[in-house]
């Protein structure tokens, strides 16, 4: 039979495809924990969970887009612009609850635009979202004039639903992050829609032939990605109480890296919510750990770059064994 002899072995790996993530996480905690025991303190772990949540909410959304076979580079700009819209509306007398709905509707709506332009315009999503990334960042700069926007007191309550404190130091964003992880796992693995997402990313022509409208599926994942980025932005707003116009710059790099660490294939059709969860925690603890050992700030960026390439190479090798091409 012409079956791949490596089949069963790879499948075993894939059933626990998050094993790579778990091992990396243990390694990071081990290394940083030894270099600076403060790393493992409860307070620090809470900090890591908060940072992981803010990145992770974005990663969850972008992960879905990648599984559907596309890229969303605009998430960083939406991460900044959504809380800005929320703040400006609230500052100008719009009730906070309405302001947040409008802001999130914007986040979702621009995602739909990304999706329609990409699928109907037949432009690579990389290009579409590179364009919208720049466009919305331009809007951020224009609207803020380059100055930070403060969280208005009228908006505090609503913002804190997403990112406020509870308990000693934990933030709601961590719970949202865990909740969404389970939700996305459920969607991907246990719903028809999830099957359609995997098919649209794995082979859109086949999906179309079988009656799945891949353009609609992809557009919906862009919408979700935008929404998640907006949500994450508001949660972060609750923590910092200001939005700097440079907020979210290069967040897309981190989110994509986190998804790829989690096993999501860059070419689409394959990915995991729990993998994205782990990937986000890994990057957050890496960032935190480097700070704690006194490493220069740019080390994080360099590491993320290396990890992205290494993780993608490793995923490709797995895919080669999977699909043989």
């Amino acid at each position: 039979m012409a079956t791949n002899n490596n089949g069963p072995l790879i499948l075993k790996y894939l059933r626990f495809k998050e094993v790579g993530g778990v091992v990396s996480l243990v390694a990071i905690f081990g290394i940083f924990g030894i270099m600076n025991p403060q790393f493992l303190s409860l307070g620090n772990l809470v900090t890591i969970s908060t940072v992981a949540a803010e990145l992770g909410l974005v990663t969850m959304g972008i992960n879905l887009v990648m599984i559907s076979g596309e890229f969303d580079l605009s998430v960083g700009s939406i991460f900044a612009l959504t809380p800005i819209i929320f703040a400006l509306l609230a500052k100008n007398g719009v009730p906070a609850i309405l302001a947040v709905i409008i802001a999130l509707a914007f986040a979702a709506g621009q995602g739909i635009v990304n999706g329609v332009v990409t699928t109907k315009g037949r432009i690579p999503s990389f290009i579409t979202t590179l364009g919208t990334q720049w466009f919305w960042r331009g809007v951020v700069l224009a609207v803020t004039g380059g100055f930070p926007i403060l969280l208005p007191s009228s908006g505090k309550f609503i913002a804190e639903i997403f990112g406020g404190r509870f308990g000693p130091n934990m933030r709601w964003s961590s719970l949202w992050f865990v909740g969404f992880t389970f939700l996305f796992y459920f969607i991907l693995d246990w719903t028809r829609y999830g099957n359609w997402i995997s098919a649209s990313g794995g082979n859109p022509s086949v999906a179309d032939a079988m009656g799945v409208e891949s353009w609609k599926i992809k557009t919906s994942t862009f919408m979700i990605s935008g929404l998640m980025a907006g949500l994450a932005g508001i949660a972060t707003f609750a923590r910092f109480r200001i939005v700097d116009p440079s907020l979210g710059v290069e967040m897309e790099l981190q989110a994509i890296t986190a998804a790829v660490i989690g096993g999501t294939l860059m070419t689409g059709g394959y990915g995991s919510a729990f993998g994205a969860f782990l990937g986000s925690i890994i990057l957050a603890s890496l960032n935190n750990g480097l700070i704690l050992i006194g490493a220069p700030a740019y080390w994080y960026q360099a590491f993320v770059g290396i990890i992205l390439v290494a993780a993608a190479l490793s995923n490709i090798r797995i895919k080669k064994k999977l699909v043989g091409e």
Binding site: M1, A2, T3, N4, G7, L11, W190, T191, R192, N195, W196, S198, A199, G202, N203, S205, V206, A207, D208, A209, M210, G211, V212, L265, G269, Y270, L322, V323, G324
Partner: protein, 245 residues
């Protein structure tokens, strides 16, 4: 009344006339071998029937009604299943998910509709049993399967969901010798169920084994439409590639 009747099909790609007015007919339960040398227009005709292309001129009737397939989805809904290896299945997904793609079986759990994985695994296992090629596990990603196994999954799916016409393009290419026999038997068995099959292939002997009628295209025109008792494989070869004198 024929199951499929295509009349006067013309299709051009820019300056190239791929089909110059072809009539093509398939009866219920027939296995028609669509033959011709490279560039004859077989692939174009097949893709028009399957809805991937749209004909420039001509009419197509399926199941008695005139049809206008704009997308593969339209022909799929009408009961035409394409069994090209890479146009039928998503490699990264397991067999059972492919089997039910677009037609997933769900069960209600409270207000939610979730996939009935148990049912889909069982049904796909059943549907692929006894087709001649063993599919060891429906949980295996399709990319792990051999060419013959993939065809079996695509054919089995088509049969299970009531396809009326299966289109196979070079089903025995890239398939092991042992599996070739199984695939040809599968085609025979499928047509015994009353499902029509259009078989595009280069290997005359393979096609001759299972087909009941042969249509030969040459440079976009139909040059022969004969039943099996009228020709031998060697006759067909001579029609497709007339000997140079």
């Amino acid at each position: 009344m024929s199951l499929l009747e295509a009349k006067g099909i013309k299709k051009s790609f820019g300056a190239v006339d791929a089909l110059k007015g072809v009539d093509f007919r398939v009866e219920e339960g027939e296995v028609v071998g669509l033959l011709g040398d490279n560039g004859a227009g077989k692939s174009t005709l097949i893709k028009i029937i399957a809805g991937y292309y749209h004909h420039d001129e001509g009419h197509i009737f399926f199941d008695g009604k005139e049809v206008n397939f704009n997308t593969p989805r339209d022909s799929h809904n009408a009961g035409i299943e394409v069994v090209y290896q890479d146009l039928a299945l998503v490699g990264l997904m397991p067999v059972w998910r492919n089997f039910f793609l677009g037609r997933e079986v769900c069960k209600k759990v409270g207000p939610l509709k979730i996939l009935n994985k148990h049912e889909m695994r069982n049904v796909s296992r059943q549907g692929l049993r006894g087709l001649g090629i063993e599919i060891p596990s429906v949980d295996q990603a399709v990319a792990f399967l051999s060419g013959g196994q993939r065809q079996t999954v695509a054919v089995g799916r088509g049969v299970h969901f009531g396809a009326k016409l299966l289109i196979l393009d070079e089903p025995t290419a890239a398939v092991s010798v042992r599996e070739t026999e199984a695939i040809l038997s599968l085609i025979e068995r499928v047509s015994e169920k009353g499902i029509s099959v259009v078989l595009v292939a280069h290997n005359i002997y393979h096609v001759y084994r299972v087909a009941t009628r042969f249509v030969v295209l040459d440079h976009g025109e139909k040059v022969a439409d004969v039943s099996k008792d009228e020709v031998t494989p060697e006759d067909l070869i001579k029609i497709i590639a007339p000997p140079l004198n």
